[in-house]
Subunit: 307 residues, 2 copies
């Protein structure tokens, strides 16, 4: 089933211990789309500037991602510059230019109307909510956010959370959102705000799924997926969005969202996150095969299963 | 098969957000012994002072831990005082009094001579090596160390590493020991120093087993065990030693150290580490049943297996 994703399509200048790339294609919606495209049809809603040309467009087309919802506006695309020189787990932002993104008004192509899955990537919660409300027919809605919205735009964010099936954020964001330093308690606090499920991304340590209390069986509600211990992290940019793409893409590809499907989705999320780190920007995500993905899925199983 | 463990038996004063305990029974060898005692026979080599009385002795006896190797010396036992008020993952040390431990000369009772398993808990590597050499008949030797020995006693530590089958340390120690900030590369660097296997403990994120390259099958050599997301961490003191006790105790209880046994051992390590955090000091470790342990083992399987 098709996923519509709304979020940023951007240019990133990234420096890591492995080197530097100038203005490579980035943005949460880009990473998400490419990762999810290996599992299901993806449709993007975003805004780009005049610097977004045929080469960038071709990246989406090569993965059959529907770009009719990517609006071209006068000016430049969202631009981010950051580095991971001291700590590969945390980006240091050197420059953020919102450019055309500052006035982003998501427009949903009519052709996207039958999407059953919706992913609200990390953007202003006011826009997330607007898109959510404009697509009342969707079956499952997942979303992301970040510390900025949690701290300074809480009321708008709380409105979004009420309408979410799945929220995907990291440890720090979970604790900040719940105002609680214990992860399990914080997860419960976040679930009380509306989302039926919470995926907490732990970076190099994997991710944990917490589901709201549909049963009293705690074990059935919590699931932990590993991350692959990577010998070389070239560039962690977009790993979280790639996780979301693999996770939600796999869920959307399944006839039913059974507990087993959720578990596999967590693994596929981790798999796509690990691939994303292996090259700069979206380079690795652009060149995968489903066979490679499933091979790594099996490696993750080997890595964690008692056998 | 019996394990001999050499290490500290101490008194700890611990403060955490959950409260404070004065002078509770602690020390690496204590946590290790109690955790391992649920799986196999354990024999301790340590030194204590006159403050170690019948009540402390009874804790070991209740778990059939052989204490003939615990020497009573004039003076006071090793004492540590620390808190975890700001960060439950890292102790802040307020006071360390070595006391009788300062002149510790491990003496190995003759009755320990047939131990097939030896655990060198975190003590001066010179003493670790002495015990190792005094027990040439052991089949499998595991050990722990810490940043202090890595930084300031490297030559002595390197000698110990050459004779180790398994080293159990945390992320920071692994990276420091190898002088490499990438965990996988650092693990390989540590394995090159001698140990045939390395268990890196990630605290609340579980632990990863790296085995030396006996085969070219990377997956068969790396294994990741989760930690239970705990709703309430009362006191993380001794969690790492409890992990080691569960891990090594289970391995020692098996007729053969098959790959499957190593995997289960990683899970039992995580299980015992999680129990240790649930109460102050060794309180929880003192009152477990094998049934509770296996129930949690199954919960860990549920938590991580695709099913």
């Amino acid at each position: 089933m098709a996923i519509t994703v709304v979020g940023s399509v951007a240019f990133d200048t990234i420096e890591t211990p492995a080197g530097k790339r100038e203005r490579c294609l980035g943005g949460a919606a880009t990473y998400f789309s490419l990762a999810a495209s290996y599992f299901t049809d993806v449709r993007v809603i975003a805004v780009v500037g005049e610097d977004f040309g045929r080469r960038q467009e071709a990246v989406f087309q090569a993965h059959k991602v529907d770009t009719r919802g990517i609006e071209r506006a006068p000016g430049k695309s969202f631009f981010w510059e950051g580095s991971y020189l001291e700590n590969l787990n945390e980006a240091k932002t050197h420059n953020t230019e919102l450019n055309v993104f500052a006035a982003f008004e998501p427009k949903i192509p009519e052709a996207y109307g039958d999407s059953e899955f919706l992913f609200l990537a990390n953007i202003d919660p006011v826009l997330q909510r607007r898109v959510r409300e404009a697509m009342p027919g969707v079956k499952l809605v997942a979303g992301d956010t970040m510390n900025y919205w949690i701290k300074d735009h809480r009321p708008a964010l709380l409105e979004v959370l009420k309408g979410l099936d799945i929220l995907l954020i990291n440890d720090t964001e979970t604790k900040m959102l719940a105002g609680n330093n214990n992860l399990v308690q914080a997860a419960r606090g976040v679930l009380a705000l509306g989302p039926k499920a919470l995926v907490v991304k732990h970076g190099e340590y994997g991710a944990t799924l917490f589901r709201a209390a549909a049963s009293s069986d705690e074990a059935a509600r919590t699931f932990r997926a590993p991350a692959l211990p990577l010998e070389e992290v070239i560039d962690p940019t977009g790993a979280g969005d790639s996780f979301a793409g693999g996770f939600f893409g796999y869920l959307a590809s399944q006839p039913e969202q059974t507990p087993a499907a959720w578990r596999s989705a967590m693994f596929y999320g981790s798999v796509m996150g690990s691939f994303a780190c292996e090259r700069f920007g979206t380079e690795r995500l652009q060149q995968l095969t489903r066979q490679e993905i499933d091979k790594r899925f099996n490696l993750f199983r080997e890595l964690t299963h008692l056998g």
